[in-house]
């Protein structure tokens, strides 16, 4: 159930599409090489499998012979249909590996959904038996690493076909039950249009089918077309918002009742995404015109000359809104970014007023917040918010960039005449490069554009690092650019731009400092390898060039971690490195010598402060590589032995689960590779992502509470015994918290249901009126409790804090849109914490209970703010103006500044009640300090505005740890005037 560290659907075509018009980076070149290696392995797999494919298929089908026999004549038909499918899937998997492209493989899998959806007697168990046997046969026919890579394709096929079988058999009942529930709650549906009940059933079925389709390797791409279908002119208005929301809830409830999916977590997650997206598309379609009209009205009220600019702005606003809705699902992100970039290119040409455009995009966010449902906003608000800043930043660059950058380059040319005098078009190139840096920083704000922006910075940085331009000139150009941005950009633009620019500048300066010592750095590291491992190196063709290439690639890829989101690129590069190590079994000592030599050479030759900026990432990268090389030979044997040992101890698991030993061992290998990646900079988040997926499916599964902890402890013990030396400690430190979390997830698998049910019983015994006040109250409470428990488990894992942060933000959002009584919220989470304390016993249980208490405190304050935020803000302003009667300007600028600042501080302080969210407190503190320095109030008055806020919050909240919250407000605002 754990995914490979290299996503199957990331083909070199996608990488090349992102490279668009620029050169490949070093890291991308290694990815291409790794892809070529996979293709070679794929060709080898064809050679081995092709002659025996009939035998393999027959053997796979024989595993389910009893199932077919039990079905009589229908069984024979099913067997023949499955034979065709098995053979086709086996061949498509070979082709997918030999081309490193899952496009045709996914298409082929999807073609089997319809015929097998309704095939009589095709159960999940039959599908699993056949396809797991197919995997066993293929693994037996292919050697070690080649077999494991090939198996990744069959694994996806097996999961997909099992889900098709399980869902298909009960699809009609699920749809019928969900449709009846919706029609019973909304009788107007049937009377509004005669064919509406039929269309409702059709749409529910489409939701179900799309969720299944989303399980193929290119599955993300299946969701946006579904959204487009239901968002089309003749369909979008069919159902009201409330009806659409209830359709989503009813479908999920019916699935829970009808399906006991053995490995259903992934499918259920797709159902959630697809149904919520469907509700968003409907909601957005219904409100779009009103939102845009309100934006236009507000823009006209604020800006006298807005009317002339509005037609174009309206178009861009509409496009931004549609793009964000499309981007709410992962498969729509590319479309969203393309649309935003298209609009941005038009803005760059037409140069609208940044002030007006900035206000319009801000209004778009505010009006959307007011008009869309909470569920829609959870999906789309962060995209709208980021897109609005992206457009505002783009408008600033478009409006002011040309004059500003020409000024920069003229000053630079005057100081460096020799360079600019002899180079063709040098001025134009510098202006273009700097302009691209500005636009690229803006694009970096958009979720999903991370790899695009980092790739562009990296290509630029590597170009600078190779061409050895005068370091003085380059440093001066960055200083002049920063100066110009500070002088020209508005404070609003700077609040997002400057923190990102600081990181980008650090990276660009580091790569510009590299050319001078580069030869020495690479030379010394390579010499160390030759001296110690010369004879071993001589065995490989072209070894010296490869060592040089790998050193350079690691150096540059570690450097790019200085750029926002640059860690993602290093993580991808290191994931490929882990796979290469697994494939080629590289010598750990040789890797230690070469990359250790690189670290030492950088420490010696790269000037300060660049070496201090670069070394942390480089050292962690080196540690991860060495640990991977040490573990590689032990991984598979340790996993196999541990799985077998645990199955001996828990024989019932082997009885219940097909191929339990093999599947258990392969999950352990992926688990260990995730833990390895956890050592790399930013890798902990990646490791946590895998753990979240794994943990969620463990909770849904029926392994029992001690099988997985036993198996993984045995695995860990074996690895610790086998792998000693540098890197082993780092690996251990990365893996231990993951093991603890896995043990908790296993415990939740056995007890989550009873914890949640008992907590809900306690709550509703105390507040019985809630059950009648809110529809589906018990089901929604149970879902909230489940989320809180699982997120709190993730909170204990390095890199897992993201889940707590997301949860906290979403809850704040929900409370703002739907008023909840803070006292009830407090009782609810008290009940949950006490049930968790009473029922969970594992090593991480005490920490989990503590985290739940912190969450409880936060939620009570957030619920209090949801009901009282506006009142507290007004009260704060009143207290402030009263205290400084006559000294405070009541002009819009002062009021706006105080309203923005106090609102931000209030929310960040509430979030900071959770330690995982402390970063928001620091970010907001720094942002408010920066804007206060240029704002309409003196530092003393600004400080006092936040003091008034603290008093107002203390007076306005009646529940939860209000004093603690008030202290947080003081902490958050402390940087102002400091």
């Amino acid at each position: 159930m754990l995914r490979t560290i290299l996503p199957l659907a990331e083909s070199p075509y996608r990488l090349t599409d992102l490279a668009r018009q620029r050169n490949y980076t070093y890291e991308e070149s290694t990815v291409l090489e790794s892809s070529a290696r996979l293709r070679e392995l794929g060709c080898g797999a064809i050679e081995r499998l092709r002659p025996q494919e009939a035998r393999i298929a027959e053997s796979a089908l024989s595993a389910a012979a009893a199932d077919f026999a039990a079905l009589g004549e229908a069984g024979a038909e099913l067997r023949e249909a499955l034979r065709a499918a098995v053979l086709a899937i086996l061949r498509q998997a070979q082709l997918a590996m030999a081309t490193d492209s899952t496009e045709a493989f996914s298409k082929s899998l999807l073609s089997f959904r319809a015929p097998f959806w309704v095939a009589p007697g095709f159960t999940g168990e039959t599908a699993r038996t056949v396809f797991e046997a197919l995997r066993d046969e293929a693994l037996a026919a292919l050697p070690g690493y080649q077999g494991r890579r090939f198996d990744e394709y069959l694994k996806v096929a097996s999961r997909f076909m099992a889900t098709v079988a399980e869902v298909g058999q009960v699809a009609e009942s699920i749809v019928e039950e969900a449709a009846s529930a919706v029609l019973a709650r909304h009788p107007a549906v049937a009377s509004r249009r005669a064919d509406l009940p039929r269309l409702l059933r059709e749409e529910l079925l489409q939701c179900l089918a799309t969720s299944v389709d989303a399980m193929v390797p290119d599955g993300d791409a299946q969701v946006p077309p579904f959204g487009k279908r239901i968002g089309s002119r003749d369909r979008a208005g069919l159902f009201e918002r409330r009806e659409a929301l209830d359709m989503a809830a009813a479908l999920r409830a019916a699935i829970q009742r009808h399906l006991q999916l053995a490995r259903g977590a992934e499918f259920l997650e797709h159902v959630r995404v697809v149904t919520e997206y469907a509700a968003l598309v409907r909601d957005a379609h219904a409100r779009r015109a009103d939102i845009l009209a309100a934006v236009e009205r507000r823009a006209s009220e604020r800006h006298a000359g807005a009317a002339a600019a509005m037609p174009r702005l309206r178009q861009w606003l509409g496009e931004a809104f549609d793009a964000c809705v499309a981007g709410a699902v992962p498969g729509g992100r590319d479309e969203m970014i393309a649309a935003l970039e298209r609009a941005s290119a038009e803005i760059a040409r037409e140069k609208p007023s940044a002030d007006l455009a900035g206000d319009c995009f801000q209004f778009l966010v505010e009006e959307s917040e007011a008009a869309l449902s909470s569920l829609s906003l959870i999906q789309v608000q962060h995209l709208l918010h980021r897109a609005s800043h992206y457009f505002f930043q783009t408008c600033e660059v478009a409006e002011k960039g040309e004059a500003m950058l020409n000024g920069v380059v003229d000053r630079l040319a005057a100081e460096h005449e020799a360079f600019f005098g002899r180079r063709l078009g040098a001025k134009a190139y510098v202006v273009r490069d700097q302009e691209q840096v500005l636009y690229n920083i803006a694009l970096g704000l958009v979720p999903g554009a991370e790899m695009t922006t980092v790739g562009r910075f990296q290509a630029f940085g590597e170009f600078l690092g190779e061409h050895g331009f005068s370091q003085d000139m380059m440093f001066r150009s960055f200083a002049l650019l920063e100066e110009a941005c500070l002088a020209n950009f508005s404070p609003r633009a700077q609040s997002y731009f400057m923190p990102m620019w600081t990181q980008v500048r650090r990276y660009l300066e580091t790569v510009c400092a590299m050319p001078a010592p580069l030869k020495k750095i690479l030379g010394e590291a390579a010499a160390a390898v030759s001296a110690k491992h010369g004879p071993a190196l001589a065995r490989f063709p072209d070894a010296e060039r490869k060592v040089h290439r790998d050193l350079l690639a690691l150096l540059h890829t570690c450097a790019v971690t200085m750029v926002p989101n640059g860690e993602r690129v290093l993580r991808r590069g290191l994931a490929h490195f882990i796979e290469s190590i697994d494939d080629a079994r590289m010598e750990p000592e040789m890797l230690e010598t070469s990359f250790g030599g690189l670290v030492e050479a950088v420490r010696t030759h790269l000037p300060s402060p660049h070496r201090e900026w670069l070394l942390p990432a480089l050292e962690r990268g080196r540690t991860m590589i060495v640990a991977a090389a040490r573990l590689a030979p032990a991984l598979e044997p340790a996993a196999k032995e541990a799985a077998q040992e645990a199955l001996r101890k828990h024989p019932q698991v082997a009885e219940r689960h097909t191929a339990a030993s093999r599947r258990g061992a392969e999950d352990m290998v992926h688990f260990a590779k995730r833990a390895l990646l956890g050592i790399a900079p930013g890798g902990a988040e990646w490791a946590a992502q895998g753990l979240w997926r794994f943990g969620s499916s463990v909770v849904e599964s029926n392994y029992g509470e001690s099988f997985l902890p036993d198996a993984y402890s045995a695995f860990h013990a074996r690895l610790t015994r086998e792998a000693k030396g540098p890197g082993a400690d780092a690996f251990d430190a990365s893996m231990k918290p993951m093991l603890e979390a896995l043990a908790l997830f296993s415990e939740l698998g056995a007890r989550e249901g009873s914890i949640v049910a008992s907590a809900a019983d306690d709550l509703f015994a105390k507040h019985p009126a809630m059950l009648s006040r809110y529809p589906d109250c018990r089901q929604k409470t149970a879902e909230d409790f489940r989320d809180a428990l699982r997120y709190c488990v993730m909170g204990g894992v390095p890199g897992g804090q993201w889940w707590i942060r997301r949860y906290a933000r979403v809850q704040m959002f929900v409370f703002r849109h739907s008023a909840f009584d803070p006292a009830v919220i407090g009782d609810a989470y008290d009940a949950l914490a006490s049930q968790a304390r009473a029922n969970l016993r594992g090593p991480g249980a005490a920490a989990l209970a503590q985290r739940l208490e912190l969450v409880r405190n936060y939620l009570v304050i957030a619920a209090g703010l949801g009901a009282n935020e506006a009142r507290i803000l007004d009260d704060a302003w009143e207290r402030f103006t009263k205290r400084h009667n006559g000294k405070v300007s009541t002009e819009r600028a002062a009021r706006d500044w105080a309203a923005d600042g106090t609102r931000l501080v209030l929310r960040a302080s509430a979030l900071a009640m959770l330690p995982e969210c402390a970063l928001y407190q620091h970010e907001v503190g720094a942002a408010v300090r920066a804007s206060a320095a240029r704002g309409p109030l003196s530092p003393e008055l600004a400080r006092d505005a936040f003091e008034s806020l603290r008093e107002a919050a203390g007076a306005g909240l009646a529940h939860g740890p209000v004093d603690q919250f008030a202290a947080k407000i003081r902490e958050t605002a402390a940087p102002v005037g400091a």
Binding site: E33, A36, R37, C43, R50, A88, L95, L424
Partner: protein
């Protein structure tokens, strides 16, 4: 995915991968490996190759330099782009990638500017000549083939 492999995929429901298709897949994997190595070399030497090529081109056709404002700078920019797309195609071992995303579109632009087929062909023959001295033979072979393809499209 390459067009011919996509066609293979459509037929796999009925038959296994043939010997010819396997040979093509093997060759393609080997080309992709060479293409990955080319990507590193081309990037390091791109500026030298293109800068020298543009210099040689306008020395041979001085009258073209003044046909449009900033002709030399724009040629430099466009030639780099063409070369990058040729490298993309080499790394993917898929000539259609560059054709669909660059060459067909760029042919329209080039023809609209009336530079003439001889000048365009010569420009990219010069790139091939310069690349032959700057890039290792195995890698240059795949680049040469992709630039040939570009010339063919621009002349079609």
């Amino acid at each position: 995915m390459r067009k011919d492999f996509r066609k293979t995929a459509q037929q796999l429901h009925a038959r296994p991968i043939s010997d010819g298709e396997l040979a093509a897949l093997r060759e393609s994997a080997a080309n992709a490996r060479t293409g990955a190595a080319l990507a590193v070399q081309a990037r390091e030497r791109e500026h030298t190759i293109v800068y020298a090529s543009v210099g040689e081109l306008y020395k041979k056709y001085p009258e073209k330099r003044t046909m449009y404002a900033g002709c030399e700078e724009k040629t430099l920019r466009d030639m780099k782009l063409v070369m990058r797309y040729c490298v993309y195609s080499a790394a993917l071992d898929d000539p259609d990638y560059a054709r669909d995303r660059m060459h067909y579109w760029f042919r329209t632009i080039l023809l609209a500017f009336n530079f003439g087929r001889e000048f365009i062909t010569d420009a990219y023959r010069i790139v091939q000549k310069r690349a032959a001295t700057a890039i290792a033979p195995a890698e240059n072979k795949v680049l040469h083939a992709m630039v040939d393809d570009a010339i063919q499209v621009y002349n079609s």
